[in-house]
Amino acid sequence: MTVLSGGLSPSGSLLFISEKDVSTISLYMQYIVNGLTLGAIYSLIALGYTMVYGILKFINFAHGDILMVGAFIGLLIYNALTGGEAAAPGAWTIIAFVIATLVSMVACGLLGMLIERIAYKPLRNANRLAPLLSAIGVSFILSNGAAWIFGTKSRRFPYPFENEPIHIGSITITPHQIVIVAVSVLMMILLASFVSRTRMGKAMRAASLDQPTSMLMGINVNKVISLTFALGSALAAVGGILASFDFRVYPSMGTMTGLKAFVAAVIGGIGNIQGAMLGGILLGILEAVGAPLLHIPNGMKDTVAFAVLIIVLLVKPDGILGKNEREKV
């Protein structure tokens, strides 16, 4: 909008763009870059919500806290390997970062499967509200457990690489932003190809279409569900580690980020994997651009995400890529 009014401003010719407009445009370009980074993290986390919903039709409200656990595990391993803040970024810190991320993914994957086994599986045939409440309980256990073990103090995740900002024109991009986007895109490509190309992925898709029928096709639905939780939680671990560059690591870090990732999943169409990716990126950009555009003070920034949620629910309740589900009688 601003871009257009700059180009077509009545004060100048079509080609003339004032200096003020240039700085506004570059400012918004900067917001978009920042939004993309934020959105990539939302996407990674939203995938976990959407995959679980796709199969179990259930919102795993403990998912946000798994990203917190992932961030803590990643940070502890990274610090143990490098000595923490004091370590000068170099090849070793990058290797340590990769190791920390992989270990955290595996640990969170196992944690996700364990939670499903203990807290959700026994309730699979219960009232729909029961697993939801159980999930909220798990969420409290995880965040309070982390506070008990690690304390409530927030910790910084040191950059494992040189984080000198790169200037492209008037836009500033920091290497950690590039890492966030690159790692997220890599994870999403891996997940998408896993789901579409492997038999386990096909079993997952089949189970999300129709569980009883899939059981008849010889698909072990229990294992598919475990796998779904493992994959979603592993992605959340990556999301948590990437988020901790900007947000620091503390026991309740998963609450708001998790909630927004959930919003992203709904915007994209919950149950739809591409939808979660798109919804996350879109929400990140809307948040980064929307707040300054609408002059929303910094402390109220979070309202943008939820306003977007309300609008999407009113206009297209199934989300952008969600299909219109027929009412089941």
């Binding site: 492997t198 038999r199 386990m200 079993a203 089949a206 059981m215 008849l216 096709m217 010889g218 072990n220």
Partner: protein, 261 residues
């Protein structure tokens, strides 16, 4: 040779005994009919055998292996396929995709027990594998003469065709034993006649078939052997001719139906 045998199979629901001490057996390569009045326990017996439900007592032996109480997915993986009274298709997938589903999860193969090298190969050659599976699925569809509907959504097919698609998908998974639960229910005479040719084709493939059916003409025409249940108990078994002349059966079942006519 007996491919399937139940010994003293019993299923109680509360105080109701739906299946009572039934010794049911199926000969390999034959078409076996399971008949009986409504509520005789036919579908319950099917559910016990295919793992949809656990028997209260008794044993089920399939191909020499005790399968009593195994989960449905394991039993289907061992080679028992079934169709349902109320059709269970992936309604939001196309006809050919439904059959591809059967091929992807063929009997004997377990998506979770793939050797790593195999998994990598199928990942790398996924699109080629998909093309092959697609071609095979189309073969199955032309075998059942529903290939013209290949790209339609399964849910949009006419009822009779949905039934045949369900059978095609079950067969695509390469089962040894196929259970058909009232395949002709809700079909018009032309569809029923076509179904008979379908069952005949399945028999020629060497797949053992067990079917529950109320259409006596169909049962008497295509079954090699018939077992009759009444109030959860087996009251007769034999060839169609023997069953036709069995006093107990006529009393319990056929006789009553003739009176209604």
């Amino acid at each position: 040779m007996r491919i399937l045998e139940t010994e003293h199979l019993t299923r109680e629901f509360g105080g109701v005994i739906a299946v009572n001490d039934v010794d049911f057996h199926v000969e390999k390569g034959l078409v076996t009919g399971l008949i009986g009045p409504n509520g005789a326990g036919k579908t319950t017996l099917f559910n016990q055998i295919t793992g949809m439900d656990r028997p209260t007592s008794g044993r089920i032996v399939f191909d020499g292996v005790d399968i009593t109480g195994l989960p449905a997915w394991k039993i289907s993986r061992m080679g028992i396929a079934r169709t349902f009274q109320n059709i269970r298709l992936y309604k939001d997938l196309t006809v050919v995709e439904n059959v591809m589903m059967g091929l992807h999860f063929k009997v004997g193969s377990d998506p979770f027990r793939h050797r790593f090298s195999q998994a990598i190969r199928s990942y790398v050659f996924a699109s080629r594998e998909n093309r092959e599976v697609y071609a095979k699925a189309m073969d199955w569809l032309s075998f059942f003469e529903i290939d013209e509907h290949a790209q339609d959504f399964a849910g949009s097919l006419p009822y009779g065709k949905q039934r045949e698609l369900e059978i095609a998908r079950a067969l695509a998974a390469d089962p040894k034993l196929l259970f058909l639960d009232e395949p002709a229910a809700g079909m018009n005479p032309a569809e029923t006649a076509h179904l008979m040719t379908v069952v005949d084709k399945i028999r020629k493939l060497g797949v053992t078939v067990v079917l529950i059916e109320h259409d006596m003409k169909l049962v008497m025409n295509i079954c090699d052997s018939i077992t009759v249940l009444n109030f959860g108990m087996k009251i007769a078994e034999g060839t169609p001719n023997e069953i036709k002349h069995d006093k107990g059966v006529i009393e319990a079942y056929l006789g009553r139906e003739e009176e209604e006519d």
